[in-house]
Point group: C2
Chain length 104, copies 2
């Protein structure tokens, strides 16, 4: 997650996930590790990049197709439903689905 | 840069810029601040999100159009040409241009 992902030539897809974190993020690093593990097991997963600042997390995962993202997303929702829920850790978050068109 | 960007409804564009950093990044934080300033002055700029890990930086900027990205990119190249060059600070980097299609 601290390497530039070597993806194949575009087009492919990116899931851009920025989040403003709550003060108390106990339990979140463990969940994030499980989510990354789930992603790696998903067909069509190309890699993930992430970074942090005080109170802020940014992750970008790359996928071969929208279908691959949907498969992963269903698994993520199941897992989060079993956990305490995003609302505990995130003050604010969005998920942006983007089509990577050009890389240089 | 540590807030979730409130962009208008998609479609819009994202410039995803991951970089593996060299050991000696003297001068880079100052350049990064100037590049962000340039971005904010560019018509069509919607916002930027960024995060860091040891030896790694990830920035995603958002833009109303490809034309806005091209305008900014020209300015960035001029500025970097005047500076010592990316090769000093980055071991590896890519720039991915992506079209944000869905946000939830």
């Amino acid at each position: 997650m601290n390497k530039v992902v070597d993806a194949p030539a575009p087009p492919y897809y990116a899931v851009i996930a920025p989040a403003e974190l709550a003060e108390d993020v106990r339990g979140y690093p463990e969940l994030a590790a499980k989510l990354a593990e789930l992603a790696r097991a998903q067909p069509g997963f190309l890699g993930i990049e992430s970074g942090f600042q005080r109170g802020f997390a940014l992750a970008v995962s790359y996928w071969a197709s929208l279908e691959a993202i949907e498969g992963w997303s269903r698994n993520v929702h199941h897992m989060i439903a079993k956990e305490k829920g995003r609302s505990m850790w995130f003050r604010k978050y969005v998920t942006r689905i983007a089509r990577v068109e050009r890389v240089y």
